[in-house]
Amino acid sequence: MIDIGPVDAIPLRGSRSVTLDGENIAVFRTGDDRIFALVNRCPHKHGPLSEGIIHGHAVACPLHNWRISLETGEALGADRGCTPTVAVRVEAGRILLAAPIRAAA
């Protein structure tokens, strides 16, 4: 696991991104203070999910407002598609991220 910084580097209901092995990863901090991580690319038109509005355990993509589950990476509602999740955990207030498995492009 890779330490990418303290939890409070991300605002509540906010997100920041980090690049690991050339892959841009969005790290989310939800309103209930949980941390999630997804590959920073909407399954729809590859919008940067880290710039979306975070509500509950979901994020609304800034380009076309698709809603993506932070838990599964699946598109919610009527839309279909999935973004890879990235394993993440919090230890002693630090965010630890697994190196991502590159999606076959």
Binding site: V18, G31, I53, A60, R67, L97
Partner: protein, 834 residues
């Protein structure tokens, strides 16, 4: 309508301005003392029967047209404006040629000469006189009752006094724990005052509620922060020069800067008594509301009929019908009213009807559900309902009331009576509509306006296909709204679910409220943060969604300029990063060019930025400025720093905010120009930049009617002419093109700018989030906009002043703030630790 005379040509066939009514010399003159609900309703009933034969003069003590007095509480609570509770607007008086005399009460009646005299000395003769003076608040004559700061709760003046007092904060004491007192207390609490209610009796609202329901109500109000003292006997009101508090007989003192006396009302009979009419507890009338003088009638709370005096609205409607029928010679005797009370106290539903004091031969059926806060009690005598008290769930109130009025034998229903109509009438539990379907046509749906089921259904069948339409035609559900569910069910039953036209939609799936409701509650309840709104209005999601959060953020920002802490996480990315996100995740940057004017320094700085950050494209926008494309998020702050250094600020090309002010060169260069349109455009942009709005907002200024700046498709467009400035509003050049409406013409730049500021503030306060001015104006109508902006120069000035006040907190360049370090780290990626 003929705009010249304002008369409908159908009514005025020869166009001479005279209506084809009977000759006024032979029309009978009806003089009405009292411009309130009873007097005006009586006139409405009479005119509906026999408009041509009567000439009407109405004297009112207040300065206003007839408004709904029982709706003063929502005005105090901030849920409604005064305009929303007006029953008969000025146009009604004009259309019916009624002579309205306001602020000039009648002080004497001379029955011998058949004249009345008003305070200002005006003497008017009558053929028939109608006394509708209502009632006076009862002031308990304790020491200090006449100190400044001690008021009643009876008219708009009292409401204005309470609003002024609550603006200063502090504590209030309400004397009287009846309906009126509790509503006053609720409104003052919502306005932020610490409220203590003093009630002489052991339980609240003892005339409408039994002890159990009164106790439930007291507990609920205490949980909302009010202090309720029952058995509290007022000894004195004390204070030096103005009220400072209330002293009880047991010696307790309660400090207060405002004391509202709401202990009861008395029929206002002074005039009647002085002119020698028969007066008991009220002015005595027969079954057609005629007093002891055949030429004098009386109606409403001031009368005594068959030994009864009524202090509620519902009996008015029957009285007025009998009165009007009597005047045209048709027998329709009034037989007294059985009254019910259905109301919301601090959002708690309460219903009572008939006699619930119990006693010899009475039986009670009681149902309690403590967990849900529900209490129901039905009182029976000889297998008939004689009284009912409902608390928390009042859906069956009209059914019990109907059984009571008709004296229905309920022996067969007795076992299930308390479970309500749907259950008791059998087999219909699964279908809540069945209960309403089973109501007879004469069952009362709306108590505030006296509307029966038959009348509601009739108005739906006549074409009212939505809740709003029903409210506008037969007025059902238009006052307190507690029968809204019933009216909606009747719509569905009459038209079928699919055919009902929906009203304002809910904001999003997180709430059952529409934008207007949420916004009104934010202001009324003084809410200060998004979590507070979600908590108080029962949001169904933990932190909203991408639709409601930006809307709430805007509504709070608009309501609390300079106080509300903008929630960046509820902003769409463009407003959070002050740039426009593009499909590849890069951003475009648009610096402001005031009025579309620029200079070598700015152009050089833009050229330098394009080269330094390798921007792949620069484009001239439709708003007369330059858009730099392909900037990476990480570079945004550096780009802004370079642009700031050349004196440029954010163009807000990304915001629900003022975008640009488009101009033509105007009289300085153009041979056709009539005014300095470019200069005025720069002034307009300096005044309005940085303001957040429901949606994007564009302004243009054209120097002559050739309109090169395309001002007639902008949200606010100014077209200069020789004699001044035409102001246009509500244009849109987007998906659905809309040409502006002409608002008005003004003579000076200062006036043009004032109208612009006032219009923007009206839009900011009135439109729903993400509603452009064009659909907003189509929804509310241009006359509404004109009335708010042109009807009263003071209101326009107040709107403009609120805009300028708000601008004091929004004209900081967001780019410069970021460059200086505010949230600058949010532009950077996280760094993995080694």
């Amino acid at each position: 309508m003929d705009l010249q005379t304002g008369l409908d040509p159908a009514l005025d066939p020869d166009g001479d301005g005279d209506l084809p009514f009977a000759d006024p010399r032979v029309r009978q003159h009806l003089v009405v003392i009292g411009n309130g609900m009873a007097g005006c309703r009586a006139v409405e009933e009479l005119l509906a029967r026999d408009g041509g034969n009567w000439r009407v003069t109405i004297f009112g003590a207040e300065a206003h047209v007839n408004y709904n007095r029982i709706m003063l509480s929502p005005v105090l609570a901030g849920e409604k404006s005064f305009d929303e509770i007006v029953i008969n607007p000025r146009g009604w008086y004009d259309d019916n040629a009624i002579d309205l005399v306001t602020s000039d009460p009648v002080i004497a009646i001379d029955r011998a000469s058949r004249t009345v005299t008003s305070r200002s000395g005006r003497t008017v003769g009558y053929d028939r006189l109608l006394i509708a003076t209502g009632s006076d608040p009862f002031i308990i004559p304790v020491p200090g009752h006449d100190l400044p700061g001690v008021i009643s709760f009876r008219d708009m003046t009292d409401v204005d006094t309470m609003l002024a007092a609550s603006a200063a904060g502090g504590s209030a004491v309400v004397i009287g724990g009846g309906l009126l007192g509790l509503e006053a207390a609720h409104g003052l609490a919502l306005r932020g005052m610490q409220v203590t209610v003093l009630h002489l009796m052991p339980t609240l609202m003892e005339r409408q509620l039994d002890e159990a329901a009164g106790w439930l109500l007291k507990s609920a109000l205490e949980a909302r922060g009010q202090v309720i003292l029952t058995g509290a006997d007022t000894a004195a009101i004390y204070g030096e020069g103005r009220v400072e508090g209330v002293r009880l007989k047991d010696g307790r003192e309660i400090p207060a800067s405002l004391v509202v006396m709401a202990v009861g009302i008395r029929p206002s009979v002074k005039l009647a008594r002085e002119c020698g009419l028969a007066v008991g507890r009220g002015i005595q009338v027969d079954d057609h509301m005629v007093t002891s003088d055949a030429n004098v009638l009386a109606v409403g709370e001031c009368v005594e009929h068959d030994g009864q005096v009524y202090g509620l609205v519902a009996p008015l409607w029957d009285m007025c019908r009998s009165l009007a029928d009597g005047l045209i010679g048709t027998a329709n005797p009034y037989r007294g009213s059985v009254t019910s009370t259905k109301l919301k106290v601090s959002g708690i539903d309460v219903f009572s009807a008939g006699d619930f004091s119990g006693g010899e031969g009475c039986e009670d059926i009681v149902l309690r559900d403590a967990a849900r806060g529900i209490y129901k009690r039905v009182v029976l005598r000889d297998d008939r309902v004689i009284g009912a008290v409902l608390y928390g769930d009042t859906a069956d109130g009209s059914w019990y009331f109907d059984l009571l009025k008709k004296g229905t034998d309920i022996a067969d229903l007795r076992d299930v009576l308390i479970y309500g109509q749907a259950f008791a009438t059998g087999g219909a539990q699964a279908d809540p509509n069945a209960a309403v379907a089973a109501l007879p046509a004469d069952a009362e749906i709306c108590g505030c306006n006296g509307v029966t089921k038959g009348q509601v259904v009739g108005c739906i069948e006549a074409g009212a296909a939505s809740l709003d339409a029903v409210r506008q035609t037969c007025k059902a559900s238009a006052s307190c709204g507690s029968c809204t569910g019933l009216v909606e069910t009747l719509l569905a039953l009459t038209l079928g679910e699919e055919a009902v036209e929906s009203g304002p939609k809910t904001m999003c799936g997180c709430t059952s409220f529409g934008h207007d409701d949420v916004r009104r509650e934010i202001v009324a309840q003084g809410m200060r943060s998004i979590p507070e709104v979600m908590q108080r209005l029962h949001w169904s999601t933990p932190d909203g969604c991408s639709s409601c959060r930006p809307a709430l953020n805007y509504y709070l920002l608009c309501a609390l300029p300079g106080e509300y802490q903008d929630d960046q996480q509820s902003r769409f990315v463009n407003e959070r990063l002050h740039a426009n996100i593009q499909k590849d995740g890069t951003y475009s940057v648009v610096p402001r060019m005031w009025g579309g004017l620029t200079n070598p320094r700015e152009l050089r700085a833009i050229a330098d930025v394009v080269e330094k950050y390798d921007a792949p494209m620069v484009k001239v926008t439709g708003g007369q400025r330059l858009d730099i494309f392909g900037i990476k998020k990480e570079d945004l702050t550096a780009v802004w720093a370079d642009l700031n250094a050349a004196g440029m600020v954010s163009g807000h090309a990304y915001g629900k905010s003022l975008r640009t002010v488009k101009t033509c060169v105007g009289s300085e260069w153009c041979r056709f120009g009539t005014q300095d349109s470019a200069g005025l455009g720069v002034q307009a942009e300096r005044m309005t930049w940085g303001s957040w709005m429901p949606h994007k907002f564009k302004i243009a200024v054209s120097g002559c009617p050739r309109n090169c700046a395309e001002a007639t498709i902008k949200d606010f467009g100014i077209i200069c002419v020789d004699s001044g400035y035409e102001l246009h509003v509500g244009g849109n050049g987007g998906m659905k093109v809309r040409v502006t409406d002409l608002l008005c013409k003004v003579a000076t730049e200062a006036e043009a700018l004032e109208h612009c500021a006032a219009f923007i503030q009206l839009y900011r306060e009135d439109a729903r989030y993400l509603e452009r001015t064009a659909p907003w104006i189509e929804r509310v109508g241009l006359p509404y906009i004109q009335e708010r902006l042109l009807g009263d120069a003071d209101e326009r000035a107040a709107l403009a002043e609120r805009f300028h006040h708000s601008q004091r907190f929004s004209q900081d360049d967001p780019w410069a703030q970021r460059v200086e370090g505010a949230d600058a780290h949010l532009h950077r990626q996280l760094e993995p630790a080694e």
